[in-house]
């Protein structure tokens, strides 16, 4: 593979490669990958083309949070808050942020149009849920951000039709000086089913961590869960749904803790023991005996 003359990849192929590296950057590291990618590509135009496609996808997937220029609040860049490729809605302040994806900043903000916002009926539910979730997130996460969006049925004006809200929670801990970064993302789809008078809640929780002091170690954990509650008043629904979210997220964290306490012993032993069964270091100086007694040693070593 390496010694022969390689045909250079085409421009399109180079762009695809750059896009792939950018998209696979761990949380909070895309700018570092960007710098390295530029150096490897040695072609500003190709890089810019790749970045223009990769950054929006990355930002939405990691649900990055940007400040409004006038510090009136924050906007989360997510698939659910997207109005157009560069515009993202913040329902809390009813503003739309115009975003520069590649530099990961909000350039300016404008008030949201009526068509971009949900109806007052929907807003009651969204607002109530937002209050409860914000309270929960501020208690549970030292540095968490959250938002609630209407993704379906935002024009529903009164009871009789189904609608769907989405709760997103994101927390990132970036410590590049300690060679360690991590992120937590949860997405909760809350479907309000009018006919059955029923609210179905589906959650996807994703945790990631990256440690890179003497190497490159990454954790990637994902969990999905489901629950439901009765369709009630906006405040009661909000309370009930938030309780469900709190319960499942706490449960997941607890089971991660349990995994962590079991894993080192159970799994490491399946990979490499701390010491041989003999409980002594390997007798390297006695290599002669192995040529003669190798089979006996082998069966001793294989006993549990």
């Amino acid at each position: 593979m390496s010694d022969e003359e390689e045909t250079q990849p085409t421009d399109d192929q180079k762009i695809e490669i750059a896009k792939w590296f950018l998209l696979n950057a761990p949380a909070g590291e895309i700018q570092y990958i960007a710098k390295d990618m530029k150096a490897v590509l040695q072609d500003e135009t190709l890089y810019t083309t790749a970045a223009a496609v990769a950054f929006p996808l990355y930002n939405k997937s990691h649900m990055i949070c940007l400040d409004f220029p006038d510090r009136s609040g924050e906007v989360m860049v997510t698939p659910f808050s997207e109005i157009s490729e560069n515009e993202y809605l913040d329902p809390r302040t009813a503003q739309v942020a115009v975003v520069d994806h590649v530099n990961q900043v909000c350039r300016r903000a404008r008030p949201a149009n009526d068509e971009e916002l949900p109806t007052p009926y929907i807003e009651e539910y969204r607002y109530a849920l937002d209050i409860e979730v914000t309270k929960y997130v501020s208690e549970a996460y030292p540095k968490g951000i959250c938002s609630v969006y209407c993704v379906n049925g935002k024009d529903v004006e009164e009871p009789g039709l189904d609608f769907e809200l989405v709760v997103v929670i994101s927390a990132a801990r970036l410590s590049p000086q300690n060679f360690c970064n991590g992120s937590w993302r949860s997405i909760w789809n809350v479907e309000f089913k009018d006919e059955a008078q029923f609210v179905e809640v589906r959650g996807t929780l994703q945790v990631g961590a990256h440690y890179f002091e003497e190497g490159n170690v990454q954790l990637d954990a994902k969990h999905e869960c489901k629950d439901s509650t009765m369709l009630m008043s906006p405040e009661d629904c909000a309370h009930s749904v938030t309780t469900i979210i709190r319960h499942h997220e706490t449960e997941y964290l607890n089971s991660l803790q349990t995994s962590y306490s079991k894993l080192p012993d159970a799994t490491f032993k399946d990979l490499r023991r701390k010491l041989p069964v003999t409980r002594t270091l390997f007798p390297w100086h006695n290599t002669m005996q192995f040529s003669l007694r190798r089979d006996i040693q082998k069966s001793l070593g294989l006993e549990k």
């Binding site: 390496s2 390295d36 030292p142 991590g182 440690y211 890179f212 990637d220 997941y252 399946d270």
Partner: protein, 262 residues
């Protein structure tokens, strides 16, 4: 090149093969450096004579063929491949036999291979490799891992010094990947690699194999401990920093239970 290594340090380890491939196509003139500095998952072939598996790496490769440490033959056959000298081949054979037992004792299964070849100034380089598949479908006795793999590459450069001693420079990498999948904790994957170096000057009274073996054993123990700390310790710490376990809830629950019991 530094930028390329930077990228390899950040890309998720499970994508490292694809990443290396991409970098090799973008930087063909750096391919020798990339291939020697970036650790890749180890592959194995079966020796045609003995049926035993051997591990493939840059150090037993010539063109597109790989030399088996058991039969000393190239797979697929090669007309004028490179072979170690008779003396080194003898050492290589002994090393493979002994290392195989070491591997059994620590890994309870797994595949090992050792390759030795000449270096300048009467020195030589040895490469000791281990591949262990600990998933429940392979050699994982306790059956906890959906997928689990430990791969170690130890490259040790030996330079004879005066007065019957030699200098040993060891560079070791361990690549580790584990995945568990169950109802309550969903899909959990930890992957990565750690690399370390160790240099020692030792008397050669007991032979090179003894010295190299002891260094490798010590290094593996240190790496195993480090991996334990990093893989589990650091990532767990990160999760708890992101979302601290809700102790207030636990203490309230305990109070509630103790009140009901009294």
């Amino acid at each position: 090149m530094e930028a390329a290594m930077g990228l390899m340090r950040r890309i998720p380890p499970k994508h490292s093969e694809a990443a290396l491939s991409a970098l090799l196509s973008l930087l063909p003139h750096h391919s020798a450096d990339l291939l020697s500095q970036v650790d890749q998952p180890l592959q194995v072939l079966r020796d045609v004579d003995s049926g035993k598996e051997f591990i493939l790496c840059e150090y037993n490769r010539d063109a597109d063929s790989y030399r088996s440490p058991w039969s000393n033959k190239y797979h697929p056959p090669l007309d004028d491949g490179l072979y170690p000298s008779q003396e080194l081949r003898k050492l290589e054979v002994e090393a493979n036999n002994v290392f195989m037992v070491y591997c059994d004792q620590y890994y309870e299964g797994g595949t090992s291979s050792v390759y030795i070849w000449e270096n300048e100034d009467e020195g030589f380089i040895g490469c000791f490799l281990i591949k262990k598949d600990g998933s429940r479908t392979a050699d994982g006795r306790r059956g906890y891992l959906e997928e689990g793999c430990w791969e170690a590459i130890h490259v040790i450069e030996v330079v004879p010094l005066e007065e019957a001693t030699a200098r040993y420079c060891l560079t070791s990498s361990v690549m580790l990947s584990l995945t568990t999948n169950d109802e309550s904790s969903g899909n959990f994957n930890l992957s990565g690699s750690i690399r370390r170096q160790m240099n020692m000057d030792l008397p050669i009274a007991e032979g090179h194999l003894c010295n190299m073996g002891r260094m490798i054993e010590e290094m593996e123990s240190k790496l195993r401990y480090s991996l334990d700390q990093v893989y589990f310790g650091k990532t767990k710490e990160m999760i708890c920093t992101l979302r601290p376990p809700s102790e207030p809830v636990q203490t309230r629950l305990l109070e509630h239970i103790s009140k009901r019991l009294s």
